[in-house]
Structure formats: structure tokens, C-alpha cells
């Protein structure tokens, strides 16, 4: 990296200046996002919402335009196939030659729907994405359509010494009563920034299952911000498995806008070395009789750090709200750290909201019981780690994805134990 190269905010703005003439979509939306980003900058430690996640390493790096990738087909072969419909993105670009798209898909580059999401709590990373987004998946599902399962697979391949940045923009629109299982799988090599925004709108009675298998490079920055508007009787059922990335923030804002809407925002984070992963959620109950459920599990080794921030906001009219939130951490090393920040902000008087957090090590009695039955120590640990994650994983409704997640968790532990 050259000393003259602009980094952080200046670097992203310079990137925008060079790119703006060929960015798809409404240039005024881009310019407004650029102005907002110029004014607000990157989140810093003084921002309450970023208290536990310090983006300084990201601010100090310069991220370049990806070069054309090598060995596409080989890389593509390495990604598990989790659904018949598959959309492959290499270094942020949709690759029709390697994809099997469903009829309701359009590449964002061809249909750049840049909705204004600037009223959301997390404006800065969204502004950065709105300013620089070049491609992504637009999934527009008509009312009543049972759309099955679609996999969006992203792969990044940054060369040594040349960090790259991609800002995928996914737009998911489900008409009334439509259903979709959407699986996001993220992988890559080298140092890069994956700054994704998913703009999700679910009409009445729609049902979106949103699963992520995040296995980015251990040197990557992975920031994914999901913004979901959920109408009456609609459900967002989300589960994120975090394995990769050096610095990770998975942030979901779910707005339960109509009666009996539901959001399930669960996650499992398995971290080692110096990985840092932050699962942040904001659920806004704006209508009566809505339910939100969250179970977040962290398994931490080495000097890794896990963060869970969960905020539940209950508006004045949102009576009969049912909110539940649980964060559980298994610390397998004395140097691992977990920070948990639940926040409840309740303006209605007839609600049921609960939250809890636990932190612990593997249970010595359980370990001894397994070993006394002949199970070797490393296997006994693997069994107990899987058992710890089972409650969260069992809720993953898509069998092939759940099986892939279980296999990746086992492989993760075998590597850790070796």
C-alpha cells in the first residue's frame, strides 16, 4: 500500500468519483448517499451502536476495484450447492455463465433499485453501499408465488498486497402470500471488504427464510446490513452462521409494520484466532400482536471476540407484542471475549418481552461422562459444542443448508482441535 493512497472515507469517496459516470441507476440517489457518507464518515467508537466494534482497521486500509478474476470455474466448483437456482457473484459481479437463475431474478446492474434507506439507524454503511453498489440480486416475487429455494453465492479473490472492496446490493420483494428460501453463501481469499446491503420488503402474509453461510477469508471485512419491512401476517425467518472474516458485523433491522408479523433473527458465530464478529439486531414492533424471536450462540476460541447487540423497540400501539431474545456464549479459551448488549424500549403497556444471556465453558461433568464412555476428548468436545449449537441450528428450516452448516461446524472444530 502506497503512503499517498487515500484510505478510509477519502479512499471510498475517491473511488466513487472515479466510478460515478458508469454506476447504474439514479445518479441523484448516489450523490445524496455520497454527501451523507462525506458528512457522517465511517462509524467510530464514540457511536453507541458501534461501541464494541472498532472499524479502525477498515478505516486505515485502501480498497481497490477488483481485477478480473482467475480460475473462475474452479472456485465456483468449491462452493456447496444448496439450491437448484443459483446466482454466482465473483468479486461483486454477477456471472450468468456460472449461474442458474430463477425467472424472477434480475441483476442489480440491469435493474438498479436504490431505495432510500437513509432513515435507518445504521446510515453510514448503507450510504457507503448506496454510493458504490454496482451489482447484486434483485428478486421480485409475485403475490402468491411459491418460489422455492435460491442460493446467492459470492466469492472474492483479492491478490496479496491489493485489498479489494465490493458493495453488493440485494433487493428482495415478496408479494402477498409469496414464499422464498434465500441462502446467501460468502467465501473468498485474501484481504477484501464485502459491504452488503439487503433491502427486503415482505407484503402481507409473505414468508422469507433467509439463511447465510458466511465463510469469508480470515483476512476479510464482512459487513452485511439487512433492512426488512414486514407487513401484516408476514414472516422473516433468518439464521446466520458466521465462520469467516477478520472483522464482521451482521446487522438486521426488522420492522414489524402490520399486525401478527413475525421476525426470527437467530445466529451462530464460531470464532478463533483474532476474529471479531458482531451480530446486531434491531426489531421494531410497530403493530399489535407481532412476535420476534432470537437465539444467538457464540463459540469462541483463541483471542476472538463475539458481540451481540439486540434492540427491541415497541411502539405505543403495539399491544400484545411478544419479544424474546437469548444470547449464549461458550468460551473455550481464557483470552476469548463476549460482549452482550440487550436493549428494550417499550412504549406499549400490554407486552411480553424477555431477554437473557449466558456465558460459560464446557461442562467438566459432561466432558467426564462422555470420556468415561470411551469417547476421546476431542470428540467429546465436538459433541458438546454441537449440542450447544443444536437449539439454534435445529430451527434452520432448509434441510440441505442445515446439513451443510453442520458439516462446516464439524470441520471447523476438527481444525481447531488439531
Amino acid at each position: 500500500m502506497s503512503a499517498l493512497e487515500p484510505t478510509g472515507v477519502a479512499g471510498f469517496l475517491a473511488h466513487y468519483e472515479g466510478l460515478r459516470a458508469r454506476l447504474p441507476g439514479d445518479p441523484t440517489a448516489r450523490a445524496a448517499a455520497a454527501e451523507l457518507f462525506r458528512t457522517l464518515g465511517l462509524p467510530g467508537r464514540r457511536d453507541e451502536a458501534w461501541k464494541y466494534t472498532n472499524l479502525r482497521p477498515l478505516a486505515e486500509a485502501a480498497f481497490h476495484e477488483p481485477l478480473s478474476p482467475v480460475a473462475d470455474h474452479q472456485v465456483a466448483e468449491g462452493i456447496p450447492r444448496l439450491a437448484g437456482s443459483r446466482l454466482l457473484f465473483i468479486d461483486g459481479r454477477y456471472r450468468p455463465d456460472l449461474s442458474a437463475p430463477p425467472a424472477f431474478f434480475t441483476a442489480f446492474a440491469d435493474r438498479p433499485l436504490l431505495a432510500d434507506l437513509s432513515d435507518r439507524a445504521e446510515q453510514r454503511m448503507i450510504a457507503l453501499n448506496t454510493m458504490l453498489a454496482e451489482d447484486g440480486a434483485v428478486l421480485d416475487i409475485p403475490a402468491g408465488h411459491e418460489a422455492g429455494a435460491v442460493q446467492i453465492a459470492t466469492i472474492a479473490a483479492a491478490a496479496p498486497g491489493r485489498a479489494t472492496g465490493v458493495h453488493p446490493r440485494h433487493v428482495v420483494r415478496l408479494g402477498a402470500g409469496a414464499r422464498l428460501v434465500l441462502i446467501l453463501s460468502n467465501a473468498g481469499e485474501g484481504t477484501y471488504l464485502h459491504n452488503e446491503v439487503a433491502d427486503i420488503v415482505l407484503a402481507e402474509g409473505a414468508h422469507l427464510t433467509l439463511l447465510r453461510v458466511q465463510d469469508e477469508s480470515r483476512a476479510a471485512f464482512h459487513i452485511a446490513t439487512g433492512v426488512a419491512d414486514i407487513a401484516a401476517g408476514a414472516t422473516l425467518d433468518s439464521f446466520v452462521l458466521t465462520l469467516g472474516g477478520r472483522m464482521v458485523r451482521t446487522e438486521i433491522h426488522a420492522c414489524l409494520a402490520g399486525a401478527r408479523a413475525e421476525a426470527h433473527l437467530s445466529a451462530a458465530q464460531l470464532l478463533s484466532g483474532v476474529q471479531h464478529a458482531d451480530a446486531t439486531t434491531v426489531v421494531r414492533h410497530n403493530a399489535p400482536e407481532c412476535a420476534s424471536r432470537q437465539t444467538v450462540k457464540h463459540v469462541l476460541t483463541g483471542r476472538s471476540r463475539g458481540v451481540f447487540q439486540g434492540r427491541i423497540e415497541v411502539a405505543r400501539g403495539a399491544q400484545k407484542t411478544d419479544g424474546y431474545q437469548m444470547s449464549q456464549a461458550l468460551l473455550l479459551s481464557p483470552d476469548a471475549e463476549i460482549d452482550t448488549k440487550p436493549e428494550l424500549e417499550i412504549f406499549a403497556d400490554d407486552v411480553k418481552c424477555s431477554h437473557g444471556a449466558t456465558v460459560g465453558e464446557l461442562d467438566a461433568e459432561q466432558m467426564f461422562y462422555l470420556r468415561s464412555r470411551g469417547v476421546p476428548e476431542a470428540d467429546a468436545r465436538a459433541i458438546l459444542i454441537r449440542a450447544f449449537l443444536a437449539e439454534a441450528l435445529d430451527a434452520v428450516p432448509h434441510e440441505p443448508t442445515r446439513a451443510a452448516m453442520e458439516a462446516m461446524i464439524d470441520a471447523w472444530w476438527r481444525k481447531e482441535a488439531a
Binding site: 467426564f368 461422562y369 468415561s372 449440542a387 437449539e391
Partner: protein, 250 residues
């Protein structure tokens, strides 16, 4: 000669509980270990199975001539040692069938026997469960989670039946059981009886020993063996209590 405990001293958190125990359990024999609460019976079971928080300060334990105390708990299990826990541990999120198969296959691997697949295993486990009058659904539930006291004890006996140990240590497996369940435990041990099998049965009650006639009875008090004798010693204890015996030993 199978199990030889010689002058064993052991404790936990710096407190000595076993103060010089010597017992030999030859192959093919069943020995009973009796004694009042706090005398060190469960500690002996844990030390033999290799629980790490117990510290051995003196003495030795060999099993078929091998230094048992130098072995990891899983290696002891592979060598044929099995402890039926007084308070079986709950494993939420771990299915009982999966647990039993993992344990059995781990031991089969060390014996050089082929591993069993899920179908072969279930067939075997169902047959054993039926023999022990255990409902099938105990295999489907999580290990010991939501089991009654009696179900937990039967689950220990099921594990023993499947793992076919060469030395079984039963730590008050009979306590809290009704007479029918007691017979199931006794039958479980009796079914394993062979010239190559030995057992150390820790119990408070004569009752179990009616169904499981021991070759020898040892009485433990305050961390020492105060009496050893034939099966008649258990009846004597039932009649006179530990206090009378302790007075005599003193």
C-alpha cells in the same frame, strides 16, 4: 488377577478422602463395597474411572497389570472399565441413540472391531432396551434429560449392556429403585457374568445383593476398608448397622 488397588490415597481440593485402600477383585468375581455416607465409596468409583478433579497422592491401581491411574478416562473405558454413575449426567442437545453409538463405536475402534452404522446399532440397542424393559423412546430422547431417577439408572445399565465392560463399577445404581427396577439392574450385571468379567458394586442395601450374590463384601468407613468378608457380611451389616461394625473395628 483383574483389579488390584494397593494403599490408595486420594482426595479433592486438598482434602484426603481415601486413606489407604487395598482391594483385589479377581476376574470372574463380583465384590460389594458398602459403608456409610461420606465414607469415600463414590470417590473410589470416580478415581477408578479417571475423573480429573480427584488427586491421587499415594498408592497404585492396576487393571490386568496395567497402571490404570496413568490412563485417560477414555483409555480406561477402552480397556474395559465402566462406571455406572450414581447421578447420571444430563446432555441436552445430544440424542441418546447417537450418544450410545458414538461411545460403542469409539470402544469398538480401539478393540479393532468394525464400527456399527445407524441401522445395525439401532437393531442392537432396541433388543437390549427391550431386555431391560425400557421404552423405545428412551433412545430417541436427549441423554438423561427429563428422565426419572429410575430411567436414568436403567440408561446406565443399557450403556453397560452395550459396551460390555470387563470391569463394571456400579455406584449405588440400586438406590431409589423399586424391587422390579432393582431386578433389572441385577439381571444386567448377571447377564455379563463370565470368567473374564468382574464388578465392584457400591451399595447401601442388602436388597441388591440378594439378586447379585457377591463373592466378597468390603466395608468402607472414613476412607479405609474396615472389614472384608463373604456374602454373610452384608447380612451382618443389615442386622447390626455400620456403627456396631465401626466400634468393633476401632
Amino acid at each position: 488377577m483383574s483389579l488390584v488397588i494397593d494403599n490408595l490415597h486420594a482426595g479433592i481440593n486438598g482434602v484426603e478422602i481415601l486413606r489407604g485402600i487395598s482391594i483385589a477383585v479377581p476376574s470372574g468375581e463380583i465384590h460389594a463395597l458398602m459403608g456409610p455416607n461420606g465414607s469415600g465409596k463414590s470417590t473410589l468409583g470416580y478415581v477408578l474411572a479417571g475423573r480429573e478433579d480427584y488427586e491421587v497422592t499415594e498408592g497404585s491401581v492396576t487393571f490386568d497389570g496395567r497402571d490404570l491411574l496413568a490412563m485417560e478416562p477414555e483409555a480406561r473405558a477402552a480397556a474395559g472399565v465402566f462406571l455406572a454413575f450414581q447421578a447420571p449426567v444430563e446432555l441436552p442437545g445430544v440424542g441418546n441413540a447417537n450418544f450410545l453409538r458414538t461411545a460403542l463405536n469409539a470402544i469398538r475402534r480401539t478393540r479393532g472391531e468394525p464400527e456399527l452404522d445407524a441401522v445395525q446399532f439401532l437393531k442392537m440397542a432396541r433388543a437390549e432396551a427391550k431386555r431391560l424393559h425400557m421404552p423405545d423412546d428412551m433412545l430417541k430422547r436427549n441423554v438423561n434429560v427429563g428422565f426419572s431417577g429410575g430411567e436414568k439408572k436403567r440408561n446406565e445399565v443399557l450403556q453397560m449392556a452395550l459396551l460390555r465392560p470387563r470391569l463394571a463399577i456400579l455406584d449405588e445404581t440400586d438406590s431409589g429403585l423399586d424391587i422390579d427396577a432393582l431386578k433389572i439392574v441385577a439381571d444386567g450385571v448377571n447377564a455379563l457374568r463370565s470368567p473374564d468379567f468382574s464388578a465392584l458394586v457400591i451399595t447401601h442395601h442388602q436388597r441388591l445383593l440378594d439378586h447379585l450374590v457377591p463373592h466378597r463384601v468390603h466395608v468402607l468407613a472414613a476412607g479405609r476398608i474396615v472389614r472384608s468378608g463373604g456374602p454373610e457380611l452384608a447380612r451382618e451389616l443389615e442386622a447390626r448397622g455400620y456403627a456396631g461394625l465401626a466400634a468393633e473395628a476401632a
